[in-house]
C-alpha cells in the first residue's frame, strides 16, 4: 500500500465508453490480490475534489526496452465513463502525471480449492474478475465466467478471459451478443448443473442481489465485490460502510467497504438493506 506519484503508459478506448489505462507502478504487483482496488487522483487540480476508486484489472511488466534495463512494472485499470471524473480520465494521455493509492482493501478469498468456480460479472463488474480468474486457474480450479451486459459493447475482454482458460457464457439484455436475457438466468442453470460450486460476483447492485438470492436458494457459497462511494479508501472517513448481517437500529453493524471489503462473503452482509437508500436518523458528522 503506497501513494504512487506516477505517469500513464497508455490509455485507450476498448469499447464505446470503456477505457483501459496502463500506469507505471514499480513494486505494485507483488502486494496486489484479485478484488483489491486503487484510489486514483484524476488530476492535480480541481475538479474533481476526491479520488475515484477503481478495481485492479491486472498487473504486469512491459518488455524491457534495452538490454540490461529492468522491465517496467504496471498496473492496469479498466473504466467506464460515467461522470465528471471518468470523463477527464478519458482525455488523459501517455506521459500524463497521475497519482494512485494502492493496492487497497481485501480482495477475493481463493483459498478454497475444491469444486468448480463460477464468476458472474456485469458490465464494468468484469474488471476484478480477470485477476481472480487468473488466480483461480493457477490454483487448478475449473472456472466458468458468466458475462452480462446491456449490449455487446458492455462485454469486455472476452478473448483475454478465454486465453486464461476460462469457459465464458455471454448474455446481453438486447441479445446483441450471446444469449438474450439476464446473466442470472444462466447462473441458475449452471448451479443446477454444477451444484458443488463457489460463486464470485461483481456488478450493479440489482444483479448482485439477484445472484445472492439464487446462491441462497442453491446453498452455494458466494463472494461479492461491492461499490460504495468512497472518500479516503483507507478506513479513515467511514463514508463507505455497508450494513453487516444482523444489523438492527438497536445493535447496528457497519462494515467499512474499503477496509473490510470491497469483497465480502455474502452471508456477512445485510441484504435487506443493500442497494436501498434510507433516511433514518439525524446526526452531526
Amino acid at each position: 500500500m503506497k501513494n504512487y506519484k506516477t505517469k500513464i503508459i497508455s490509455n485507450q478506448e476498448i469499447s464505446p465508453g470503456y477505457f483501459r489505462m496502463k500506469i507505471l507502478a514499480p513494486g505494485f504487483g507483488e502486494n496486489a490480490h484479485a478484488g483489491q482496488f486503487v484510489m486514483f487522483r484524476v488530476q492535480r487540480s480541481l475538479p474533481p475534489l476526491l479520488r475515484r476508486p477503481f478495481g485492479i484489472f491486472r498487473t504486469g511488466f512491459l518488455p524491457a526496452d534495452c538490454d540490461g534495463l529492468p522491465p517496467t512494472e504496471f498496473v492496469e485499470l479498466v473504466y467506464k465513463v460515467v461522470g465528471s471524473g471518468t470523463s477527464i480520465m478519458a482525455e488523459l494521455h501517455e506521459g500524463d502525471k497521475v497519482e494512485l493509492l494502492g493496492p487497497l482493501g481485501n480482495g477475493f478469498d481463493c483459498t478454497s480449492r475444491k469444486g468448480e468456480k463460477i464468476l458472474v460479472g456485469g458490465g464494468i463488474g468484469l474488471v476484478p474478475l480477470y485477476m481472480l480468474a487468473g488466480e483461480l486457474v493457477a490454483n487448478g480450479c475449473k472456472v466458468r465466467l458468466l458475462m452480462g451486459g446491456r449490449t455487446r459493447d458492455d462485454i469486455l475482454a472476452v478473448t483475454e478471459f478465454e486465453r486464461l482458460g476460462v469457459e465464458t457464457y455471454i448474455s446481453t439484455d438486447d441479445g446483441s451478443l450471446g444469449e438474450a436475457g439476464l446473466v442470472t438466468q444462466v447462473l441458475e442453470r449452471k448451479l443446477q448443473k454444477y451444484p458443488e460450486t463457489e460463486v464470485f460476483t461483481c456488478g450493479p447492485m440489482p444483479m448482485l442481489a439477484a445472484v445472492h438470492d439464487i446462491c441462497v436458494k442453491y446453498k452455494t457459497p458466494l463472494q461479492v465485490s461491492l461499490e460504495e462511494s468512497m472518500a479516503c479508501g483507507v478506513g479513515a472517513c467511514l463514508g463507505c460502510v455497508v450494513k453487516g448481517a444482523g444489523h438492527t437500529e438497536e445493535k447496528p453493524s457497519y462494515l467499512c467497504s474499503c477496509k473490510v471489503g470491497p469483497v465480502f462473503k455474502s452471508q456477512y452482509l445485510d441484504w435487506s438493506a443493500l442497494g436501498k437508500k434510507d433516511n433514518d436518523c439525524g446526526g452531526c458528522a
Binding site: P47, L49, S229, A231, C237, V241, N279, C284
Partner: protein, 313 residues
Amino acid sequence: MSELKKEIVKRPDMSVEIAGIQLRNPVMPASGTFGYGEEYTPFIDMEKIGAIVTKGLSLKPKAGNPTPRIAETVSGMLNAIGLQNVGIDAFIQHKMPFLRTVNTPVIANFFGNTLEEYGEVAKRLNDIPEIAAGELNISCPNVKQGGIVFGTDPKAASEVVALVRKNLQKPLIVKLTPNVTDITVVARAVEEAGADAIACINTLTGMSVDVNTRKPRIANMTGGLSGPAIRPVAVRMVHQVVQTVSVPVIGIGGIMKAMDALEFLIVGAKAVQVGTANFVDPTAMISIIEGIEEFLVEEGIDDIHDLIGSLKF
C-alpha cells in the same frame, strides 16, 4: 531559491504552543479525516506532523448514519458519517497501543449525546496519560433541549464547556460550529467557561439532491460541507474569533496546500488542521509543512510567531 541561499539560512522555528502543548509545527489533521492515525501510517511519517487528532470519541460505540454518507459537491464534499466511532473503551484497548508508539502529541476529539456523557468522556480521557489534550466537539444536537445543537447556543455551549473543564485534567480545546449568526458570541462564552484553545470551523450544513432520483444525495438528507469551497467562510470566522478571544485559535476549513494554511496563520491562527485534503492526497500535511517552512525562509522570517497574526488591515 538558490542552493547557496538554502545552505546559509537556518531553518526557521516552526514550533508553537497550544494550550500548553508544545507542537513541532502548527499542522495537524482535522478530526474524522485521519481515523485513529494508524490508517495513514503507510503514507506519512507521523513524527513529522504537529499532532495527531483522533476521530470523535463517545462513551459508548456509535454506529453512525445510514448510507450513502458522502457526496462530492463543487470543490467540496458533504458528509453525514453520524460520528461513528469505536467508543472510548475500544479506543483505549485497540487504538492507543499504536498511538503510544508515536512521538507526537495526540489530541482526542470527543463528544457526548447528553451533557452528562460529555462529562463522562472527559473523565475517561484522564485515564490515558498519552493523550495530550481533549478537543471538545460541540457541534452535536443536545438531545435534552429538543435537538438544538450545543454549539449554536452560547448558554448551552458554556454549560458543556464548564462541565468538561471541571472533569478534564488536561488542556481543553473547544471546536466551534460555523452554523451560527455570530461566532464571536460562542467563542467568548466558551473562553469564559474555561477553554484553553478554540478550534474552528467544523463543517457548514449543506444538502445536495440527485435530480434523476429526486432523492437527497446523502441518506441523512443534510450533511457537513468541507473542502476548499468553505475556506473563505473559515478564514473569516477564524479572523473574527482571533479578534475576540485571547486563547490560541486553531484554523480549520478547506486547507489543501501551504498557501491556504498561510492565510489562516496570517489572520492569527496559531495552528491549523487539515481535513478533506487528507483524502485527496494523504501526503498533503507534509507538503503543507514544507511549504510553510519554505515561505518563511523566502520571507526571511526566523520564527513562525512573526508570521502569525501579521495581517495588514
